[in-house]
């Protein structure tokens, strides 16, 4: 698994992919948080990182499927998947190696935003007037959210040999799991019935909950099981696929 992880990370940073991902993420985030007047923290007058945690998931919605789209589809397309499967590796080692590689890249992308926290800490009046618990909770939430998006996107990548198709399926699935369930729950038929349950299936509900700064074991369990479900589906699909 370590070998695969190293290969994936090298793959990101020996080509442009890694730099573009980090660059796009930070540029968009920086513009929205500090430059565009409608959303800028400077005009918002509150010492908080709310913008970061509202905007980052939306960027991830298309950035993460883009990171992961080649993971399996390229290996299937070029046949290198056959090399991996005939080496002494289990499917789980291959999947988890790739998963950890993508997670690491996203982690690298999020890391520089800690500077924003430091800046706002200074900008607060009085200085340091920022809810630290909420920020830490939100970071954890964001990381969990990225973890699910990566699992979903890996699954999308295994479905097709075509990277564009993998990207689009990944983006669609991420969107559905993130917002989709919330939107469905607003259909009037569900009022007072299963709307609550539907919301809880979506990521949005748990992301908000964890962002409040209170880390509930139910939310953690939700994130872990969502990741597992998609990785498990990836595993099943790979197993089936190689025998055809």
């Amino acid at each position: 698994m370590w070998a695969i992880f190293v290969k994936e990370v090298n793959g990101f940073f020996s080509t442009l992919t890694g730099y573009v991902v980090v660059g796009v993420f930070l540029t968009l985030l920086g513009l929205i948080m500090w430059v565009f007047p409608d959303y800028s923290i400077l005009d918002y007058n509150y010492a908080s990182l709310d913008q970061l945690f509202t905007v980052a998931p939306i960027i991830f919605l298309f950035l993460i499927p883009a990171i992961c789209m080649r993971s399996f589809s390229e290996e299937k397309q070029s046949g290198t998947i056959e090399i991996l499967f005939t080496k002494p590796l289990t499917e789980w080692q291959i999947i988890l190696g790739k998963y950890a590689g993508a997670l690491f890249l996203v982690f690298i992308a999020i890391l520089p935003t800690v500077i924003y926290y430091y800046t706002i800490w200074h900008l607060g009046a009085p200085q340091g007037n920022i809810d630290r618990g909420e920020v830490i909770g939100s970071y954890i939430g964001l990381f969990f959210l990225a973890a699910i998006f990566i699992a979903i996107s890996l699954y999308a990548s295994v479905l097709s040999n075509n990277q564009i198709v993998a990207f689009l399926i990944g983006a669609l699935l991420c969107f559905l799991v993130y917002y989709g369930f919330y939107f469905i729950s607003t259909i009037p038929v569900f009022f007072g019935g299963v709307d609550d349950l539907l919301q809880k299936i979506g990521i949005d509900y748990h992301y908000r909950s964890i962002s409040n700064g209170a880390i509930d074991s139910r939310d953690v369990l939700y994130f872990l099981s969502a990741v597992f479900i998609f990785l498990f589906m990836t595993h099943q699909y790979l197993r089936q696929n190689r025998n055809q």
Partner: protein, 301 residues
């Protein structure tokens, strides 16, 4: 016994790719797997290499069942898949180091350097794989299959698409390596099989149609002797010769004579026969049967 295959069956949906084949390969043998496209060569190799693990029947390597101990058998074999897939964006050395780290080899650096020497990649080791010619890519493919010094090599069409010079080089490489390893390789170039292998297994539509030493196959299948003649003019007479089956004129005063195969060489008699009829013999050749003939007879008729 290095490789043992018993009643091996594989289906792709409705289609039967392998319909119960049996063979065994001793350690140290070099065996060619022959057959037209779609005969089941690649499927057989994919099963032996552990890539496909859903099949009926039994396949084992060094006594280990391929299905039950996939990780162990993958340590024992080196596999070069069909079309030689490679990570084109990697450097040669980087790629081989990656493969070596999958096998958790000791002294990765040293091992990679050794294999680069062995496969003649020294001058190319710092190039991107996509910048290499097909022949060198094939060497990289072989290098990744050999890096952990496996006992058994499974090579799926290792020479397809190479130019004649590269072909000779790769064949030589395989032969050198083969001195101490068991090798199974597939091909549809007959001369190649003749040049490298001790033994051939011929598959056709998922069925094993022949499994023997090359010489035996040749003898068993050729009960005829064919001689080509070229004369200075047409000879319109009855050909009366011993053991003659058929005379086929093929234009330009040329004839194909087909004899039943006996110990007696018919050529002196032919010569006399022609001279007696006031003809001049320009050319007389015995057509040696090739593996192509063997192959065609096995898979068509």
């Amino acid at each position: 016994m290095s490789i043992l295959v018993k009643n091996l069956e594989k289906r792709y949906g409705e289609q039967k790719a392998l319909a119960g084949i049996n063979f065994s390969i001793d350690s140290g043998e070099i065996v060619g797997l022959l057959g037209p496209n779609g005969a089941g060569k690649t499927t057989t190799m994919k099963i032996l290499s552990g890539f496909m693990d859903v099949y009926d029947g039994e396949a084992s390597i060094n006594g280990l069942d391929v299905h039950k101990s996939p990780l162990e058998i993958k340590q024992l074999i080196g596999y070069l898949p069909e079309h030689n897939p490679l990570y084109l964006d990697m450097y040669v050395r980087e790629y081989l180091t990656f493969i070596a780290s999958i096998y958790r080899l000791d002294k990765v650096k040293e091992r990679v350097s050794n294999i680069i020497d062995l496969t003649g990649l020294k001058a190319e080791q710092h190039k991107l794989i996509k910048a290499l010619s097909k022949g060198y890519r094939q060497r990289v493919g072989l290098a990744q299959a050999l890096i952990h010094d496996p006992e058994i090599l499974i090579l799926d069409e290792p020479t397809t698409g190479l130019d004649p010079n590269q072909l000779v080089e790769i064949r030589q490489l395989i032969k050198n390596i083969g001195a101490e390893k068991t090798i199974v390789f597939s091909s549809h170039i007959m001369q190649e099989v003749q040049a490298i292998c001790d033994r051939v297994i011929i598959l056709n539509r998922g069925v094993l149609v022949a499994d023997d030493k090359i010489d035996y196959l040749d003898q068993a299948l050729n009960k005829q002797r064919e001689i080509l003649l070229e004369l200075d003019k047409s000879l319109e007479v009855d050909w009366v010769l011993h053991d003659l089956q058929e005379v086929i004129p093929i234009g330009n005063h040329q004839y194909r004579l087909i004899f039943n195969k006996t110990d007696k060489d018919p050529r002196p008699e032919i010569f006399d026969f022609i001279v007696e009829r006031q003809c001049k013999l320009l050319q007389m050749v015995e057509r040696k049967s090739t593996m192509e003939d063997v192959f065609q007879k096995m898979t068509l008729g």
